[in-house]
């Protein structure tokens, strides 16, 4: 007896059984559907639609809370807090369609429950630069253009509302003049800097400019 003859019949039988059970399941589903159509009362349709609307609304509101693919989570997976990561064409973060080919970005994420964070970015005159602060769930809280820079450095202090109150008590005149101060209602956030090269030949320069972003934790004394 050939090996194939011994193996095939049981296999065939299994396959037939499988097909039969799928068929039965399909028949049941069809029967249910038919029942639905037969009993299709206004109430059933209404029930289904209302349920559909509820499920739709719940998912829309849950996605920003549950998503593990948000920019903050993706950033968290590839870098440590307060460290700057360049989002270049080779980086796993750069799968964002609609990205400008002249644009170079870099980002760092932080946790404000550990105290304020100082963000600084040297400004290059040839490149258009900006800083934006994004919350964990994707909202853009602030955007600061490079025109806000003083002495060639764009310096931003990001803090929670609690720290802002604390700082107001121990007010330091010099610090207020030096920084742009931003208050965030959330603790988990990230800073993104954009550097846009006006010419393709300046793209390396833009990359250099973007990678000079620094985020330093500066807890209150």
């Amino acid at each position: 007896m050939l090996v194939s003859q011994r193996i095939f019949p049981p296999l065939l039988r299994k396959a037939l059984q499988c097909v039969r059970s799928v068929g039965q399941w399909l028949a049941l589903a069809l029967k249910n559907l038919w029942n639905l159509v037969r009993h299709l009362s206004g109430l059933a349709i209404l029930l289904g639609v209302v349920l559909g609307v509820i499920v739709h609304l719940i998912t829309i509101f849950l996605i920003p809370i549950m998503s593990q693919n948000s920019a903050y989570h993706r950033l968290m997976r590839v870098s440590t807090p307060y460290s700057t990561v360049l989002i270049s064409s080779t980086s796993p973060l750069e799968d964002d369609p609609y990205t400008d080919p002249m644009l170079v970005r870099s980002a760092c994420h932080f946790d404000l429950s550990q105290g304020p964070v100082r963000v600084s970015l040297p400004i290059s005159t040839l490149i258009v630069q900006s800083i934006s602060v994004h919350g964990e769930r994707g909202g853009v809280h602030y955007a600061v253009p490079d025109r806000a820079a003083t002495n060639g450095v764009l310096s931003v202090m990001i803090m929670s509302e609690r720290d802002q109150d604390e700082l107001a008590l121990q007010e330091d005149e010099e610090a207020t003049q030096r920084d742009v101060r931003l208050m965030l209602p959330v603790n988990h956030a990230f800073v993104l800097t954009r550097a846009i090269a006006p010419f393709l030949s300046l793209k390396e320069k833009a990359e250099e400019a973007a990678s000079q972003l620094t985020c330093t934790p500066s807890p209150l004394k």
Partner: protein
Amino acid sequence: VRLSFFATVLILGALLGLSVTYVLLSTQWRGGRIDIGGWTTWPSSGIKETDPYTAAHIARSGDMPLGQGEGMVFVRTHDEHGQRLRGRCHYRVSGLFPLARLWTLTLTGLDGIPIPNPSNRYTLTSYELLRDAQGIADVDIAPFALPQNWLPVGAPQVPSVQAFQLVLHMYDTPISSAVQALTPAQLPHIRRVSCL
């Protein structure tokens, strides 16, 4: 029968809800969409308290949108007569570009990813644009090389580029706070010149 009937209603209802969510988030339809003379923009994606649909879209795609004060993105897929932009055709972009410190005009596939081309030109910026004596500039978009401001669509010998879209990024622009007041005449228009 009664139980399975209700189960079916429940399952179908839930499926309906899930599929509506999926379709709404996967397509370009989402809240806060504004159309100005064929250019589409989503100004609400760059703000803190955005609508739930935009918020869900951003969280799901992992986008890092431009903040409202940083700049704006405009996308268009059709010419001024409402016909799809085709890779076989020669188009001319003319008219006014809104005031911005820097803008870039990029040609991409419908997925938003630049289309490979032999000359590696994907974008034109406001700095490199050649203008005439009146300061007016036209941009030609064609699969074959053209003088002055030219953006290639794929390669001439490869007819695979069916449809494309134009993405206009504007950085540091005063219009972002008044996008509702923008009229079609303030944005460039795109005319089909000929087709291969």
